[in-house]
C-alpha cells in the first residue's frame, strides 16, 4: 500500500469529484481488504495492549459502581449547592460524543455527502457505546438504583406516575429513543455486510453466527428497494431525533432560572457542541484505526479534511454561542446574569473556563489552514484538545452556575473525589472495550455502501457519462 498517491489524489478538483476510494477498481478487492480486519487470525499487538488496559478500566468502573451502590452517593464530590457534579458533566459529555455517529449516518446521508460511507459504521458504533456510557451516569446518580424502573410509566399499585413536566423525564425518553433508534439504524445498515462476512466465513461457527444476524440477507433487488427506502426514512427520522436529544439535554439546564443555565440559545448551542465533540472523537479513533488496520484507501486524507472542516464549523458555532451568551448577559441588564458570566471568566473556576475557550474556540481555528487539515499529527492533537475542551464546557456550565448563584451565603465549592475521577476514567474503559470488540468482530466499514459510491457502481458507466469519469481520474 502506498501513501504518496493518497495525498496527491484526495485534493478536491473544481471540475470533477475526487475518488472516495483509492487504489481499488474492483468490488472484490474492496470486500477482501475490509473483511481482512475481521478475518485476520490475530489483531495487531496494539489491539491486545489497548484491550488489556481498557478492560481493566471497565472492570474498575464496575467495582466503583458497586462501591457507590453499597456506600451511597456521598462517595462523590456532589454537595450542596453543587448537587450535580461529575455525573451530569460526564453524562452530557458522553451523550455529546454520541451525536456524531447519527449525524454522519443520517444528516450527511440526507445531504448526499457520499464521503460519509467510509466513516459512518464506526461512528455509529461509537454513538451506541458512548450512549451506553452516558446512560450509566444518571442511572447510578439516582441513588436507589434498584428503583430505576420508576423512571418509566409502568402501572403500579401506588398509582404513581412519572412527572411528565420534568425535563429529566424528557431525558429518559430522549436518550432511550436515541439509543434504540441508533441501534436499529446501525444494525440495519450492517445487515448486508454481515451477509458478506457470512458468505466468506471459513468455519461453521462464524457462518452460523454471522448468518443469524444477517437475517438471511441475499442481496435481492426487491429487498434492496425497500431497504433503501427504509434507510432513507430512518435517516429522516434520526435527523430531528439527533437534534432533539441534545436539545432535551440542554433543557435540563435551561428551564431552570439559574443564571448561566437559563438562556434560550442552549438547544442549538448544545447540538452544535455535541456534533463538535462527536467529530473530534471520530477523528481520535479513526486516525489510529486507519493506521493499524491499513484502511487508508477508504479513510483517506480527504475524509480527514472534511471532518476538520466540520470541526471548524461547529467550533465556530460554539464560539458564536459563547459570545451570544456573554453579550446577552450584558445586554439583559440583569445583575445576576452579568455576574454569572464574569464569574465564569474570572471567578474561582476561571481556569476551567479558559481551558474551554482555548480548546473549543481557538484550537479549531487552525483548520482554516489546509496544511493543518491534512496533517495527521495536527488533526490528532487538535481532536484530543477538543475532547478535553468539551468536557470542560460541561463542567463550566454545570458547576460554576451552581457554585455561585444568587445569594453569596449559599455559594460553595465543588471538588471531585477519587471516586468521581476514577469512575469517569472507568467509563473510557467501558467505551474502548466495546469499541475494540466491535472492530474485531463486526464489519467496521460499510462495505456495501462503499461499493455503491465507487464510480464502477454506476450502471450507466461505459455509456453516456464516460467523459465524467475521465475527469475524475485525471
Amino acid at each position: 500500500m502506498t501513501t504518496l498517491p493518497v495525498d496527491k489524489t484526495t485534493v478536491e478538483h473544481t471540475s470533477g469529484r475526487s475518488p472516495l476510494v483509492l487504489n481499488h477498481t474492483s468490488f472484490g478487492t474492496v470486500t477482501s481488504e475490509i473483511c481482512r480486519v475481521n478475518e485476520a487470525k490475530k489483531p495487531p499487538f496494539a489491539w491486545y495492549a489497548t484491550m488489556a488496559i481498557s478492560s481493566c478500566l471497565a472492570l474498575m468502573l464496575g467495582l466503583l459502581i458497586g462501591y457507590l451502590i453499597i456506600t451511597g452517593v456521598g462517595v462523590w464530590g456532589n454537595n450542596n449547592p453543587v448537587m450535580w457534579g461529575f455525573p451530569i458533566v460526564n453524562f452530557v459529555f458522553w451523550v455529546g460524543i454520541g451525536h456524531a455517529g447519527t449525524l454522519i449516518s443520517a444528516i450527511l446521508f440526507l445531504f448526499r455527502q457520499k464521503w460519509r460511507t467510509s466513516i459512518n459504521r464506526f461512528a455509529e458504533a461509537m454513538t451506541i457505546f458512548a450512549v451506553i456510557c452516558a446512560g450509566t451516569f444518571p442511572g447510578i446518580h439516582i441513588g436507589r438504583v434498584w428503583l430505576a424502573y420508576w423512571l418509566f410509566p409502568i402501572p403500579n399499585q401506588m398509582s404513581m406516575w412519572p412527572q411528565f413536566r420534568s425535563p429529566l423525564l424528557w431525558d429518559v425518553f430522549a436518550v432511550g429513543t436515541y439509543f434504540t433508534v441508533s441501534l436499529v439504524f446501525w444494525y440495519i445498515g450492517m445487515v448486508p455486510d454481515l451477509a458478506t462476512l457470512r458468505d466468506r466465513a471459513t468455519n461453521k461457527i462464524k457462518a452460523v453466527s454471522y448468518g443469524i444476524f444477517a437475517l438471511g440477507w441475499r442481496g435481492s433487488m426487491r429487498h434492496w428497494h425497500r431497504y433503501e427506502r427504509a434507510y432513507l426514512l430512518l435517516a429522516a427520522l434520526a435527523t430531528p431525533l439527533v437534534l432533539s436529544v441534545h436539545s432535551v439535554v440542554s433543557f435540563d439546564f435551561a428551564v431552570a432560572q439559574l443564571p448561566g443555565w437559563h438562556t434560550t440559545i442552549f438547544p442549538p448551542y448544545f447540538v452544535a457542541g455535541a456534533i463538535f465533540s462527536g467529530f473530534a472523537m471520530v477523528l481520535t479513533l479513526a486516525i489510529p484505526a486507519r493506521e493499524l488496520w491499513g484502511l487508508k484507501n477508504f479513510i483517506t486524507l480527504r475524509h480527514m479534511e472534511n471532518m476538520a472542516k466540520i470541526i471548524l464549523l461547529t467550533g465556530t458555532m460554539v464560539g458564536y454561542a459563547y459570545s451570544m451568551e456573554f453579550f446577552m448577559a450584558w445586554y439583559s441588564g440583569e445583575v445576576y446574569e452579568q455576574f454569572a458570566f464574569i464569574n465564569r471568566a474570572f471567578g474561582q473556576y476561571a481556569w476551567a473556563y479558559w481551558i474551554m475557550v482555548s480548546c473549543n474556540v481557538v484550537t479549531p481555528q487552525i483548520f482554516w489552514f489546509k496544511w493543518c487539515r491534512r496533517n495527521i499529527w495536527v488533526l490528532f492533537s487538535a481532536s484530543l484538545l477538543v475532547n478535553i475542551g468539551m468536557w470542560f464546557e460541561r463542567f463550566v456550565i454545570a458547576v460554576t452556575s451552581l457554585a455561585n448563584d444568587f445569594l453569596p451565603s449559599s455559594w460553595g465549592w465543588f471538588e471531585p473525589t477519587w471516586v468521581d475521577i476514577l469512575t469517569f476514567l472507568g467509563s473510557f474503559g467501558l467505551f474502548m472495550t466495546l469499541f475494540l470488540l466491535f472492530i474485531r468482530y463486526l464489519p467496521i466499514l460499510a462495505i456495501a455502501e462503499i461499493k455503491g459510491v465507487m464510480p464502477e457502481a454506476n450502471p450507466h458507466a461505459g455509456h453516456d457519462h464516460d467523459h465524467d469519469h475521465e475527469e475524475v481520474k485525471s
Partner: protein, 426 residues
C-alpha cells in the same frame, strides 16, 4: 441527463416588464404608505409598517446570499441550476441599503422614538434597565452598526453574484475556486451581521426584552422566505417557458426538502425552544414579550403560526410526491411566503405598555383590559401595512428581475453544471 434548451435560458422580455411593473408597484406602494401613514398617533404606524415590509424582503434576499455561499462551501453539485436564481435574490442586497437609509436618518435625527422606544433619551433616563444598555442602544452606534451590516451584505452579494455572472462569459474555472475560498469567510461575516441586524432592527423594538436565540430565529424566518420564493420563481420562470430542461422534478424535490427542513421543522424547533424555555422559567422580564402575543387578536395569529407555519405544511410536505409535483409545491411555497410575512408581522407589531404590565396585580386584569379595549396590544391592521408590504415586494420583484436581466438564468460555465443537470433524487 437533462439538457437545457439554450434558447430559454434568458429572461428576455420578462425582465424589463418585471422591473417596470415591480418598480411602479414598489414606488406606488411606498408613496401610498407615506400618504396614508400618519394617523392620530403620529408616524408610528407608517414606520412600523415600513420596517415590517423591509424585514420581509431583507429576509428573503439574505436567505439567497446564505444559500449561494453554502453551495460554494459544500461544493454542491445538484444546486447549480438554481444557483443563479438564488443569486438573483441575493443581488437585491446591493441596493437594499437605500431602503434602509430613511430609517437610519430617522434614528440619527433623534426622531427614532416613533419606532424604537430606546431612541428617546427621556425614556432611557427613566428606565434603569434601559440606562444600563444605553451604550449599545445609542442612535449613533446603532446607525454605524446598521451601515456595517448593509455594507457587508452589499459587498458579499456584489462579489458572489459578480464573479458568477462574469464566469458565464469568460468560463474561468478559477472563479469557482475563488468563490469557494471566500465562502467560509463570507458565511462567518454573514452569521454575525444577520444575527445583530435581527437583534438591532427587530428585537430592540421591545428594548427590555432579550433572547440569545433571536438571531437563530431570524435566520429561520429568512430561510423560510427565501426557499419559498426560490420555488415560486423557478415555477414561474418555467411556466413562462424559461429554463426548459434545466430544473427537473428532482431539483424541485430538493428545494421542497429544504423548505420542509428549514422553513417548517427548523423554524418550529427554534420557535418552540425559545417559547418553551421562557414559558417554563417564567421570569417576568422575558415573558413580557410573549404576553401581548398571547392576548387579543394576537393569540389567533400565534395559533395561525403554529398550525399554518408548522402543522399544515408539515403534513403537506412530508411525502415525496407533493415535492415532485410542481404546481402543488408552488401552492405550498406561496402559502409559506404568506406565513413568513405573518411571522415577521408577529415579530414586529405587538406591543404592550410596560407600565400597564407593572401596575397590573394579576394576569386576568390584563386580559380583561385587552378584551375591553382599554389596553393596546399593538393590534392595528391598517391599509398602510398592506401598501408598505406590497410596495416592498414590488421592489423585490423589480430588483430580482434587474439582477437577472442581463445574464443567463443558469451559471452556464459552472464546472458542475453537468452534474446538476444529471442529478437524480433517490
Amino acid at each position: 441527463m437533462n439538457s437545457i434548451d439554450t434558447k430559454t435560458i434568458r429572461m428576455g422580455g420578462l425582465a424589463p416588464t418585471g422591473v417596470v411593473l415591480g418598480g411602479l408597484v414598489g414606488l406606488g406602494g411606498i408613496a401610498a404608505s407615506i400618504a396614508l401613514g400618519a394617523d392620530e398617533s403620529g408616524w408610528t404606524n407608517f414606520w412600523k409598517s415600513y420596517i415590517f415590509a423591509f424585514m420581509v424582503i431583507t429576509g428573503i434576499s439574505l436567505g439567497g446570499l446564505f444559500f449561494v455561499m453554502l453551495q460554494h462551501i459544500t461544493r454542491a453539485g445538484w444546486s447549480v441550476v438554481v444557483r443563479r436564481l438564488s443569486e438573483g435574490f441575493a443581488s437585491n442586497l446591493r441596493w437594499l441599503w437605500i431602503a434602509f437609509v430613511p430609517v437610519i436618518i430617522l434614528v440619527w435625527s433623534g426622531e427614532g422614538a416613533v419606532l424604537y422606544p430606546w431612541a428617546d433619551p427621556v425614556v432611557v433616563q427613566n428606565d434603569p434597565v434601559l440606562l444600563k444598555k444605553a451604550g449599545y442602544l445609542d442612535p449613533t452606534f446603532w446607525s454605524i452598526r446598521a451601515i456595517c451590516f448593509l455594507f457587508i451584505w452589499a459587498a458579499l452579494a456584489q462579489f458572489f453574484v459578480g464573479q458568477s455572472i462574469r464566469q458565464d462569459s469568460d468560463g474561468d474555472v478559477s472563479r469557482t475556486r475563488r468563490m469557494q475560498a471566500a465562502a467560509p469567510v463570507g458565511i462567518l461575516l454573514y452569521g454575525i451581521s444577520q444575527t445583530f441586524a435581527g437583534i438591532d432592527w427587530v428585537m430592540t423594538l421591545e428594548p427590555t426584552w432579550f433572547s440569545t436565540m433571536f438571531g437563530v430565529y431570524w435566520f429561520a424566518v429568512s430561510l423560510t422566505g427565501f426557499f419559498s420564493c426560490l420555488i415560486l420563481l423557478a415555477c414561474f420562470l418555467q411556466s413562462a417557458g424559461r429554463l426548459k430542461g434545466a430544473i427537473s422534478k428532482d431539483h424541485y424535490q430538493d428545494m421542497g426538502k429544504l423548505l420542509f427542513a428549514f422553513g417548517v421543522v427548523f423554524w418550529a424547533y427554534i420557535g418552540y425552544s425559545q417559547f418553551m424555555l421562557i414559558w417554563y422559567a417564567n421570569i417576568p422580564i422575558e415573558t413580557g414579550w410573549f404576553l401581548p402575543r398571547q392576548m387579543g387578536p394576537w393569540k389567533w395569529v400565534s395559533l395561525l403560526l403554529i398550525l399554518g407555519h408548522f402543522a399544515l405544511p408539515f403534513v403537506l410536505l412530508v411525502s415525496r410526491w407533493p415535492k415532485r409535483w410542481k404546481n402543488a409545491l408552488a401552492a405550498i411555497a406561496l402559502w409559506m411566503v404568506l406565513m413568513m410575512i405573518v411571522d415577521v408581522y408577529w415579530l414586529v407589531m405587538p406591543t404592550m405598555s410596560a407600565k400597564a404590565v407593572h401596575d397590573a396585580t394579576n394576569l386576568m386584569e390584563l386580559v380583561d383590559a385587552v378584551d375591553a379595549g382599554t389596553l393596546s396590544v399593538g393590534w392595528n391592521l391598517t391599509v398602510t401595512n398592506f401598501t408598505a408590504l406590497v410596495g416592498m415586494l414590488g421592489l423585490l420583484v423589480a430588483g430580482t428581475c434587474a439582477g437577472l436581466w442581463r445574464c443567463s438564468l443558469v451559471p452556464a460555465a459552472d464546472p458542475r453544471l453537468d452534474e446538476s443537470l444529471a442529478f437524480e433524487n433517490l
